[in-house]
Subunit: 339 residues, 2 copies
DNA sequence: CTGTTAGCGCCTTCAC
DNA sequence: GTGAAGGCGCTAACAG
């Protein structure tokens, strides 16, 4: 039997069709035995609720939007490297996992400016939204002010108190990196970063790293964003590395680490042998490098899976009475051979 | 007025609601003046048909699936490099462009084996499907046999005659690469590749490249897939490069080019200065490299935009009477400074 | 907790 | 070429 028919399920389970519906939308309001009966019948008949009909009746769109905001101001973060593309597939997988067996569907949306948030008729497009890669206060504020459907923002959003959010924890990530170096016997690290006052996550990563080395002060070398900064920062440390006054480098992200690696290479120094090296973001660079870079993975899949769950909760509850909720996903160490 | 109400539009246009509906679904069956009246009224009222209701009534799902097949057998193609991730965002953008203003919505689906194609109840999930990154005959055949909704396969599919497909043209891409070298004054190239008998696209790329150099025979150096193969192949050519008997290298893809580049670097040879170098796929490696690699971009966005259009056509027509259609998207040269 | 009932907005015969 | 009318599968009151 292939045909989706709720009434057949109801009949087989010996309940009314409304109860079948409840099992999918308000499972808490159905007694255990009936719920089981319905679920069994549904499985037997290969039934699953029709999302279009559900959306129609509910007077919603049946859609959840994943919203990306294109922003020129991001240049300082990554240079012109399209980092977002690497994450995106993981992000989608995480979201799909949970959206797939909800009554909703995923829909992808790209905004070209923050102003668009206010001018869109959200209710017409979707019943809820996840905002991708929100970093700045300004962005969070625009969402709160302009998005008229339930929304959760992700993923560098731990400090935005005024809205629902799901974040990575850059401090912990930095700490994990530092602790890993310690575990491996490194004791005199330096940290290479940029714009910590402007880019909060960079500051947090350093703070965490420093936190792991609580007994000493970790020097932070600042340069310009990206590989050029990494190269020059490393260059300035070469003599200290050679003399053993620095035995390891923490780097704020993989992209910057590329410059670090190029410099080390130019100097004939090999990560993992001559110096410990740990970076952040776990970009798929290992194939390109002559060794495997140890890095911190912020787990975009888990992050957005969590965000999706939050959103679904939010959409299910009364939206007006939204008490702000925040969830955190802890980053993970990915071991290579550079430490 | 925000509320979508077809009857209001009908009233304003002085027609029945059925006519409004026809304007969106069978525009040919409505007379010009009335059609215009409806469209004007719709614009004025901000009306657009409700996709959920439409899908419900039509007894379809209102969904178009983008299907990715996870395949372990792909290892020879890319090693363990997650190339797919790179393309995916472009692919999605291309598809979204066209799906967005259709009556359908996009839905992402991942299969873990070819067998799944036959066991899925397609009609329950979607009204049409695009199969992502189909390369092997076996895959194409599985789609034809097992997918019960209209489907188009993409993007290395030019030779699969039994189903709807939208392909890149690897031969032309190779030719473009070769011609570019010629234009720049290179005359004695070699080509670095692997498994041309197993991986059709690799063979086609070489054939095209050779085609551009019709007056000479381009030596093809074969090795193992990926950077190791690239490294070793280049190594074997070093003396010929040094003596000027080879003045340029065509490489089957960027990933392999990484090995080539590492070897050249180890030998103190600089692409663009000591030798011409052109690769394929336009992966975002430039940031990682100390120069900009000239490469061929197969334009995944255009490719899948085309595929989407084809699918929509297919879904609109009578599916049984499907005469096979095939479309081709020509790759593009992306100039760096390695040539 | 559970069943009954009234549409949600649209597409599609079927008449005209 | 056009209008009238039924019903797609579901959810949200409401009444028990």
């Amino acid at each position: 039997m292939t045909k989706n028919n709720r009434d057949k399920v109801a009949e087989l389970a010996g309940v009314s069709s409304a109860t079948v519906s409840r099992v999918y939308n308000n499972p808490d309001k159905v007694s255990q035995p009936r719920k089981k009966a319905v679920l069994d019948a549904a499985k037997l008949l290969g039934y699953s609720p029709d999302k279009s009909a559900s959306a129609l009746r509910r007077k919603g769109t049946g859609q959840i939007s994943l919203v990306s905001i294109k922003k020129k101001k991001r240049t300082p973060y990554w240079g012109d490297f399209p980092t977002a593309k690497w994450f995106y597939t993981d992000v989608l997988n995480g979201i799909m996992d949970v959206v797939e067996d909800s009554m909703y569907r995923l829909n992808l949306k790209t905004l070209h400016s923050l102003d668009e948030i206010a001018s869109i008729n959200w209710k017409q497009d979707c019943d809820g939204a996840i905002f991708y890669d929100v970093v700045e206060q300004e962005e969070a504020a625009a969402v709160v002010a302009g998005c008229s459907v339930p929304a959760v923002i992700s993923h560098n959003t731990s400090v935005f108190t005024e809205c629902m959010r799901c974040s990575t924890n850059n401090y912990q990530g930095g700490e994990i990196a530092g602790r890993h170096l310690l575990d491996k016997g490194y004791e005199k690290p330096a940290y290479i970063s940029y714009l910590p006052e402007m880019i909060r996550s960079n500051k947090e990563r350093y703070d965490g790293f420093q936190g792991a080395f609580s007994h000493i002060e970790v020097p932070q070398i600042l340069g310009e964003p990206g590989k050029k900064g990494g190269y020059e920062a490393t260059k300035s440390l070469i003599s200290e590395i050679r003399t053993g006054r620095i035995d390891a480098l923490g780097v704020v992200n993989d992209l910057t680490a590329i410059g670090v690696i190029q410099c080390l290479q130019d100097e004939g120094l090999k990560p993992g042998r001559d110096i410990g090296l740990i970076a952040y973001d776990n970009m798929p660079l290992n194939y390109v490098l002559p060794f495997n870079l140890t890095s911190i993975d912020l787990r975009p899949d888990l992050l957005y899976r969590e965000a999706s769950c939050m959103l679904l909760d939010l959409m299910h509850s009364d939206y007006d009475s939204h008490k702000i909720v925040s969830r955190i996903v802890i980053p993970e160490l990915v071991e290579g051979d550079s430490v």
